[in-house]
Symmetry: C2
Subunit: 356 residues, 2 copies
Amino acid sequence: MAFTAVTLRDVAKHAGVHPGTASRALNSRTRALVNEATAKKVLEAARELGYRPNPIARGLKTNRSETIGVLIPDLTNPLFPPIVRGIEDRLREEGYTALLANSDNDPTKERLLFETMSDRQVEGFILATADREDPLVEDALAARVPIVMVNRTIETAIAFAVVGRDRGGSQLAVSHLVGLGHTRIGHIGGPERFSTGKARYEGFVAAMEGAGLEADRRLIGFGEAFTEDEGARVCRELLAADNSMTAIVAGNDLLALGCYDVFAEEGLRCPENISVIGYNDMPFIDKLRPPLSTIRIPHYEIGWNAADLLLLRISDPDASPRTVFLEPELVVRASTGPPPQPLSGTARSAAAGSAT
Amino acid sequence: MAFTAVTLRDVAKHAGVHPGTASRALNSRTRALVNEATAKKVLEAARELGYRPNPIARGLKTNRSETIGVLIPDLTNPLFPPIVRGIEDRLREEGYTALLANSDNDPTKERLLFETMSDRQVEGFILATADREDPLVEDALAARVPIVMVNRTIETAIAFAVVGRDRGGSQLAVSHLVGLGHTRIGHIGGPERFSTGKARYEGFVAAMEGAGLEADRRLIGFGEAFTEDEGARVCRELLAADNSMTAIVAGNDLLALGCYDVFAEEGLRCPENISVIGYNDMPFIDKLRPPLSTIRIPHYEIGWNAADLLLLRISDPDASPRTVFLEPELVVRASTGPPPQPLSGTARSAAAGSAT
DNA sequence: ATTGCGACAGCAAACGATTGCAGTATAGGT
DNA sequence: ACCTATACTGCAATCGTTTGCTGTCGCAAT
């Protein structure tokens, strides 16, 4: 196992040429500058000695590191692994590797990580951490550091980003519910400071209006985070505010999961008494009781495309910023069904009655 | 935002000293070599200019990169994110960062990644990819490259590793089932080429014998991978081989999930007709239908300790290899219950009968 | 025969730090 | 007053590559 200790000098010596020449021969971009025969000789020597260039040394001279920084809120959130996987796969195709770190949505930590990575000469960043207004992103943009955002994006500037078409996704969810016969539909939105939270909310409102339905403010709430707990909290509020609601579109799957908990508390059966649809289609969400209807986002592709875009941006500093939208897809499972018939006493009203 | 371009020379000049002196002043290990007053001056200058050392340049000279390589089979497997998180958290405490890559359990790819990372001067590796006999690990050991294994370990050498106490975990599972009254207990093991697969299997056999029960070979099968599909396949085999089985201990949660699918096919109710217990307690497994009983491994801690150990190994090349075992914990949920009463016709035998 | 040019290849200076060695100045001992 | 030990600090090499510049050689054109 060649844990390389063979340097460029070694192969140069072995090939009987100057290290500079060897360098040029080895680098495809400069190979033309050296005689074909000598180039062959060098390549041969390199192969023979098992030469592998030292990227650190190269980086020192060239300011390139062939690594890029990936900042995500929390790897432990099932949303991110596929994205990271996509990033990594695309990156490796070009010989790049990823430096990964978790920010826990803490701006201070985020900035620190960003700087640490900058120090390490990463050539660019993929950020899954952007707020709609995000000073870090703006600073990076101003400094012309290559970045592309994934999943979320900013609104205060135009930049590279790869995101799902969130408004469209909400519309999918609403149409599905409307098609089932629901009219009193609530929304549990994610934090409005994230583009995902806001866009899905806006999509919800637009779709409701498009369907000639009222987007009742009392039936709309926002979680302070994309968590199960927040989903439960808001769900309770919505239920308390108006008992005519028969369906909920949640800003993401975790929020929807919180609804499940509340339904259980309240003795509500899903989907018989109330429907809920999530967003993301995270792994294993199909195994739940009941399997969650949701909007699928192509996470792996998001990651892959983000890396692709970043690579482009790195090789062409003048590439014009673009945000690519990936299409969401409706996944119907068992958490959504027709609304309860109001005529006969439903379990819902029975449950409400028994609570009185 | 200081995207550092200020070098050691700059701060030296600003402080009116030689770069060498500045270097010594800045480095806590060598600070004693320089006059306290000048040191202060240098520190001051550095702070003022916002100096941040260039780790690449440093690394070139010192052969240290403050980064370590993390090789996992597939980040998308929910087992790994918490481990990686633990690794990263511990690493960052010491200013290290992690280079992450997925091997997909492909030895060729694994080796390639290993070499790429070596080239990048990583100071050590954390491997979640070890087979019980693993040439890559052996080579690395022979070359005295610092490595520590997580989750799985090798058997052909003694090395640093952090794993769950797998045999003990299986015993927990078996005791639980025996306590419930089961006697005909089957086992769906993971691949025997992984230490986890083997140890859990051995723990199963030992526990059965310890309980005075027969570990019937017909009730034992092995998946070729830790996947739901393999779980289903083996589950079908076991069911076909002997219809007296009332409980299954699965080598991991995914394998157990496969059982769920087969139960559904066969019209078996869990836990009324048959119990199953998983291993790992992966995220969201508690949301399943029914919530899966399982053995919890402290994944985050495994990662954290692995990083800790690696850091130790790096700072002290003569540290003696050790494998630290973390204790598993029984998590009882709803997939395990008492065995069906053989007296009255159970759904199980009814189902079997109707199939005849 | 001289000049000019093209094609290589070598030289050496970077890149930004670290570090062994040597030099200088001060203090302290006799 | 001289010598030596001590305490710094500066010098310069070095880590492994890359790359602008210079030099050499052969060949063709005049």
